[in-house]
């Protein structure tokens, strides 16, 4: 971890970086933004830790906790909405046993995210599973995809 943090700090100094780009790169490396990274950056770069926390909580892309192994991103754009994305999200939540604002399963195998719009409205509703875009989704197709993912996990 130490080595990777040092690398990020050096990149920052070299490329006239800013808090956002540093956090983006940190998340790229760790999958989320570890608290110790923030305090380390704050010390090395003489930027108050409060600024990092303020930025990290402002932008929805940043995660302060580790995410699940499989990431399912449901698009909630308008086109997806009118074509029933909330039903897909509802069934996903039930299948994954996610309640309230929880978005990662207890076993850390799945994270369900909702994004505003991925701009693939013609093939709405859209779900992105581990970076692959799936268009014209429905609860049935989703259940199949999920089943395949779960089987893959259990092997």
């Amino acid at each position: 971890m130490e080595k990777r943090l040092q690398g990020l700090i050096e990149d920052f100094k070299k490329n006239e970086g800013n808090i956002i780009s540093l956090l983006q790169e940190t998340q790229e490396v760790f999958g989320y933004i570890p608290e110790e990274a923030v305090y380390r950056f704050s010390e090395e770069l003489d930027i108050p830790a409060s600024n990092f926390f303020g930025v990290a909580t402002f932008y929805s892309q940043f995660y302060l906790k580790p995410r699940g192994k499989n990431i399912i991103t449901a698009c909630c754009g308008t086109a997806c909405h009118v074509k029933g994305s909330d039903r897909i999200i509802g069934s996903l939540k039930r299948e994954l046993n996610l309640t309230g604002e929880q978005n990662t399963t207890e076993d850390k195998k799945f994270t369900l995210e909702q994004v505003a719009c991925v701009g693939a409205c013609s093939i709405a509703p859209v779900v992105i599973i581990n970076k692959k875009v799936h268009g014209k989704m429905n609860s049935d197709k989703m259940a199949k995809e999920l089943k395949a993912l779960k089987e893959g996990e259990n092997e």
């Binding site: 830790a49 409060s50 990092f52 926390f53 402002f58």
Partner: protein, 361 residues
């Protein structure tokens, strides 16, 4: 600096070219309500109370952020503006505990004052409130974030004036919150500048709690005695007890104080405070490892006796070992005049140049 002519509520005035419309209103003697604005901090434009109408601009603009331009025509109060201000206030109060009865800030609160002057009683927009757990363990600052209106003054003073950045805006939208990183306990120098600029009861001094409201308080202007900076302070005195220390904006220190000046006043009425001179009756070595109380080591004396004692001991040393065997260290907590007299005493009275001062680092 170039002066610009602008008309505000029919009054034509001249203002410097870098002034804002709010500055201009002040110059013209027109009161415009604000919550987030602070004259010493960068403009924010978040509370929307200081909105005004400017000829040629289709929508109301915040006077605190809008620079003046030559020939500008400003109206600070219309039915629509007052209507919007009232809505804004109602919205703020719909997300506020409204516990003025027991709030430390009551009577000294800008929000309360505005709610009063706009006559807000029923709230058309009542709804969900932010509920936060109070968990600050520090001895100085009380943070009741449910009362925070997110004006950002505390964030800016901490950053722009103190250069600390202990807190920042976090999250966004209705969930926005001003807090230290990771919502931890405040870990800063506790200068209390944020408390001084907070327009509501969100930030108060823990020491002030239940020491009485501002009614019946006598304000005594004096100079802080903690260091040689000499900040002007105002003691809030109630029943002959100092209950709070503040500083006024028109002083040379611009109303800013540090932790000692602001919160270090409780010694005044402390039972531990020495109010009479003490003369040692046991020598130093025996007092160090004894379990004796103060009364066994020192005895109370009158000032005359104490001075006589000092004078005779110094004379003894001087006769026996010479003037340079004596040295004097004075204190930053003394005034210039006192320090002058002290060095005079050392040089002219004792006859040595061995004199120094704790702040001359």
């Amino acid at each position: 600096m170039k002066k610009l002519k602008i008309t505000i509520d029919g009054k034509t005035i001249e203002v410097p070219e870098n002034a804002t419309v709010l500055d201009a209103a002040k110059t013209a003697g027109i009161a415009v309500p604000t919550l987030c604005h602070h004259p010493k901090l960068t403009p924010f434009g978040g509370c929307r109370l200081c909105i005004v109408e400017i000829k040629g601009i289709p929508r109301p603009v915040t006077s605190c952020t809008t620079p003046v331009s030559d020939g500008m025509e400003v109206t600070t109060s219309t039915e629509q503006l007052e209507n919007l201000r009232k809505t804004v206030l109602e919205l703020i109060l719909s997300d506020h505990p409204n516990d003025c009865m027991v709030c430390e800030k009551a009577g000294d609160c800008t929000l309360q004052e505005l709610a009063y002057s706009y006559g807000i009683r029923e709230n058309r927009f009542a709804g969900e409130r932010r509920i936060y757990e109070k968990k600050d363990g520090n001895p100085f600052l009380e943070r009741d974030m449910e009362k925070c209106i997110l004006c950002g003054r505390c964030v800016k003073i901490c950053d722009e004036v103190q250069g600390v950045g202990a807190i920042d805006f976090t999250y966004r939208g209705f969930k926005s919150k001003i807090c230290p990183p990771y919502e931890k306990d405040l870990d800063c120098e506790f200068c209390g500048q944020c408390v001084a600029v907070c327009p509501t009861g969100a930030l108060t001094g823990k020491q002030w709690a239940l020491k009485g409201r501002q009614r019946g308080v006598r304000e005594v202007d004096t100079v802080c005695s903690y260091c040689g900076t000499g900040c002007n302070i105002t003691l809030h005195v109630k029943d002959n007890t100092v209950t709070r220390v503040t500083s006024k904006e028109d002083t040379w220190n611009e109303g800013w104080l540090c932790i000692k000046g602001r919160f270090g006043y409780t010694f005044i009425n402390s039972p531990d405070r020495l109010t009479k001179p003490l003369i040692r009756i046991k020598d130093r070595s025996s007092s160090l490892n004894s379990s004796n109380g103060l009364d066994d080591i020192f005895r109370e004396a009158s000032w005359e006796e104490a001075f006589d004692h000092i004078a005779s001991r110094l004379s003894d040393i001087k006769t026996k070992h010479g003037s340079d065997a004596i040295g004097g260290l004075s204190s930053a907590r003394c005034t210039n005049e006192e320090n002058y007299i002290f060095q005079k005493l050392m040089r002219a009275g004792v006859g040595t140049n061995n004199v120094d001062h704790c702040a001359r680092l």
